[in-house]
């Protein structure tokens, strides 16, 4: 055990820090759940890509730097510390790409990854259906083989970023006689195909952060299949593992929130200390953000030595989603009557946009598998308790 950085790692940190200092937009970009904001974030992805920073863990041939996970953590630390924009293509870069690397053909990798890294293709995900939320194996959307195409009919929902995204990855039932997690196939498709209708779903803040997608005889070439026909469940599970796990919520993001929360508390502590629960929560926020960071470094080191991510991905999901809620609720307690004001309200003396984060934090315990599902997984797979 050695908890210090190598000279190379320190240089890497210096390099990304300098680049970010020169390139991070000075103004916060508009939300990527608006059309204008989406395009601004797409341009930022392109800028990142020009500096070869959009997917640092990928091989160089696809636009990455072949970084290991420790370097990735360093990248993320500098990225969030610099106040750089949210990643509009995180579904693609962090969720789909690792699956593509594992299950994709060389042709598929060459076709999809460089455009993804460059921000040319922004990806949405198509898991959930109206009757298949937490219970993903209840998927009913069909893909019927017709020559060298699949013909897709059905409906997806809660499709993040799908309103303005270019491509979708998702799971469809290719064997109509199958049930549950058998007979599903993982398919990639452009969202501008004939027969696709996208209905935006407005989220709490009123912006269409996700969408319903309707498929009416949508023809997708068979070459767009990822992995074998009928093997979609295991391909998807690899993605779900990554999603819950390391990449989706890097610790630096929470550390930055904790740091901002400490600063907010310090500015107002004379007034705020009348409610002792606030200082308690501020200290807990810092401690838990550190804990999450340490646990992630440990996982990264273990993965670097060949270990696999198991049910600890489920513990991650619970931990960061509760931490994120705690921090934003605490910030709202400090803001008091200013908490409810939208960013454009002129009366607020606060510059940070805590409200946005507070709203977003509400979704944490739900998406990527509700925390109840995660607790079931922990109880049954880590602890070995009997299924109900």
């Amino acid at each position: 055990m050695r908890l210090d950085y190598t000279e190379r790692q320190k240089q890497f940190r210096e390099e990304i820090r300098s680049w970010l200092a020169a390139n991070v937009p000075s103004e916060t970009l508009p939300s990527f759940d608006t059309e204008q904001g989406f395009e601004a974030h797409r341009r930022w992805e392109a800028t990142l890509s020009e500096g070869r920073w959009s997917a640092v863990t990928w091989p160089r041939e696809y636009g990455g730097r072949g970084c290991d996970l420790i370097e990735w953590l360093i990248f993320e630390e500098e990225y969030w510390r610099a106040g750089a924009p949210l990643r509009v293509n995180q579904n693609g870069v962090f969720l789909l790409a690792p699956t593509l690397m594992e299950y994709g053909s060389d042709e598929q990798k060459a076709r999809f990854l460089p455009r993804m890294a460059a921000g040319q293709d922004i990806w949405a995900q198509g898991w959930s259906e109206p009757g298949a939320g937490s219970d993903m194996a209840a998927i009913r959307s069909k893909a019927v083989r017709d020559g060298d195409h699949y013909v897709i009919n059905g409906q997806k929902t809660w499709s993040t970023r799908a309103v303005w995204a270019d491509w979708l990855f998702g799971m469809f039932r290719t064997d109509p006689t199958s049930s549950r997690h058998h007979g599903l196939t993982f398919i990639l498709l452009p969202l501008n195909l004939p027969g696709i209708t996208i209905r935006p779903i407005k989220q709490l803040n009123g912006l269409p952060g996700f969408a319903e997608i309707f498929f009416d005889n949508v023809r997708v070439p068979v070459v767009n299949r990822l992995g074998d026909e009928g093997a979609g469940w295991s391909v998807a599970m690899a993605t779900a593992g990554f999603e819950r796990g390391l990449m989706l919520r890097s610790p630096a993001r929470f550390q930055q929130t904790a740091r901002n929360l400490v600063a907010l508390y310090q500015q107002h502590r004379d007034r705020v200390d009348a409610d002792p629960g606030i200082r308690e929560a501020v200290l807990k926020s810092w401690m838990d953000a550190e804990a999450y960071t340490l646990a992630t470094y440990r996982t990264a080191c273990r993965l670097g030595k060949g270990a696999k991510i198991g049910a600890e991905a489920s513990t991650n999901k619970i931990f960061w989603s509760e931490l994120d809620l705690l921090m934003h609720e605490t910030a709202m307690r400090i803001l008091g009557p200013y908490g409810e004001l939208m960013p454009e309200a002129s009366a607020s003396p606060y510059s940070d946009h805590w409200l946005d984060g507070f709203l977003f934090a509400q979704a944490g315990p739900i998406y990527a598998g509700t925390n109840e599902i995660q607790r079931n997984i922990i109880a049954e797979r880590m602890l070995g308790l009997p299924r109900s």
């Binding site: 009123g206 307690r333 908490g339």
Partner: protein, 356 residues
């Protein structure tokens, strides 16, 4: 010792509930909030007046009903349950009380109280605990604080800047205005007491509304969980979801008597009323926050959408939790009362501030 409401109070509450169920359905509120600039409906206000709501605090001599905080508190729970915006409470409860308590200047009372009772006037109230004034743009009159004095100004005497809230039911304004002897309707010495009463009465109203909001969010969560199926059975048959919602029921069950006691303390002018009101605000806020969190969870992804009605009640609960004194303000009043060395606390002190 009788900690129950009388039949008339309960019957009035039930009538208001039935009325609002029809007249303030979520889809109607959405339409008013989202499509009108003021976010308010004169038509709904007229109907509320027909129900007698605007006349409750107006004395009979001015055309009102002249009942008190105990009648209001049950109504406020309903106003919360149906997310009725601030203007009604600010006009018919806070402003009416404030005007009632003014010294003999009958002119002002005679001018405004009958109109209030008839639902024909809106009065906004600006207290320094709130940085902004709710529904100021629609107000015919504004009662404003300045160095503990009470001032009355009309809408043409103020400059307003709209400050949007996440809660579409809220219309908050920064108010610029000039105080003058002509606008002053009460000097600071009496004003201090009146403003303290406004604050306590407003915080009580917010507490009762938060309770109502908590109950609404619980009901929405229960409805959704009973209908929505996953893994072949209703989400609400899973023990984890059941226990989330049961915890909310417990919170509400134990917050409600605190709110009712605070109402009684205000009605009786109990010397401990400020502490009781702060306790009510904290407990009701806790219940509403937990109800919001657990109802989102019972809703799953639907709980995070604009289209599910939950969001309307959720945001109003978040806003009211910090209105009329945030948690810091109210906890500091509890702190002072409980940790004071001379405080009479413990068994036997609940209903008597001094032990006999």
């Amino acid at each position: 010792m009788d900690f129950t409401f009388d039949d008339q109070q309960l019957a009035f509450r039930d009538a208001i509930h039935k009325f609002l169920m029809v007249e303030a359905a979520p889809e109607m509120l959405r339409e008013i909030w989202e499509t009108t600039a003021s976010g308010r409906s004169a038509e709904l206000r007229a109907k509320l007046a027909d129900q007698g709501l605007t006349a409750l605090s107006v004395p009979e001599e001015f055309g009102g009903i002249g009942v008190g905080d105990l009648d209001w508190v049950l109504v406020q729970q309903e106003l919360g349950y149906f997310a009725i915006p601030d203007s009604l409470t600010d006009s018919a409860y806070l402003a009416a009380h404030l005007l009632n308590q003014l010294p003999a200047d009958v002119t002002l009372k005679r001018e405004w109280l009958p109109r209030l009772a008839a639902g024909k006037a809106r009065i906004a109230v600006g207290h320094p605990v709130n940085p902004l004034v709710a529904d100021a743009a629609l107000a015919d009159l504004l009662l404003l604080w300045r160095d503990d004095e009470v001032h009355a100004v009309t809408r043409d005497q103020v400059k307003l800047t709209f400050n949007p809230s996440i809660d579409l039911s809220r219309r908050l304004y920064a108010v610029e205005w000039s105080a003058s002897p002509a606008t002053r309707i009460c000097p600071a010495k009496l004003g201090r007491t009146l403003w303290a009463d406004v604050l306590d009465r407003a915080a009580l109203a917010a507490s009762a509304q938060l309770l109502g909001l908590a109950q609404r969010m619980l009901d929405l969560g229960v409805d959704h969980a009973a209908q929505r199926k996953q893994f072949g059975k209703p989400v609400g048959s899973f023990q984890a979801v059941k226990h989330h919602l049961a915890d909310v029921a417990v919170k509400i069950e134990f917050a409600e008597p605190i709110v009712h006691r605070a109402a009684c303390a205000l009605a009786d002018n109990d010397p401990q009323r400020a502490v009781h009101v702060s306790h009510a605000k904290l407990a009701a806020g806790d219940a509403a926050r937990l109800a919001g969190r657990k109802s989102i969870q019972a809703h799953g992804a639907m709980g995070y959408t604009w289209e599910a009605d939950l969001q309307m009640y959720l945001k109003r609960a978040w806003a009211l939790d910090s209105a009329w004194g945030d948690n810091i303000f109210h906890k500091s009043r509890i702190d002072a009362a409980v940790l004071d060395q001379a405080a009479a606390i413990g068994p036997g002190c609940t209903f008597s501030s001094r032990r006999a």
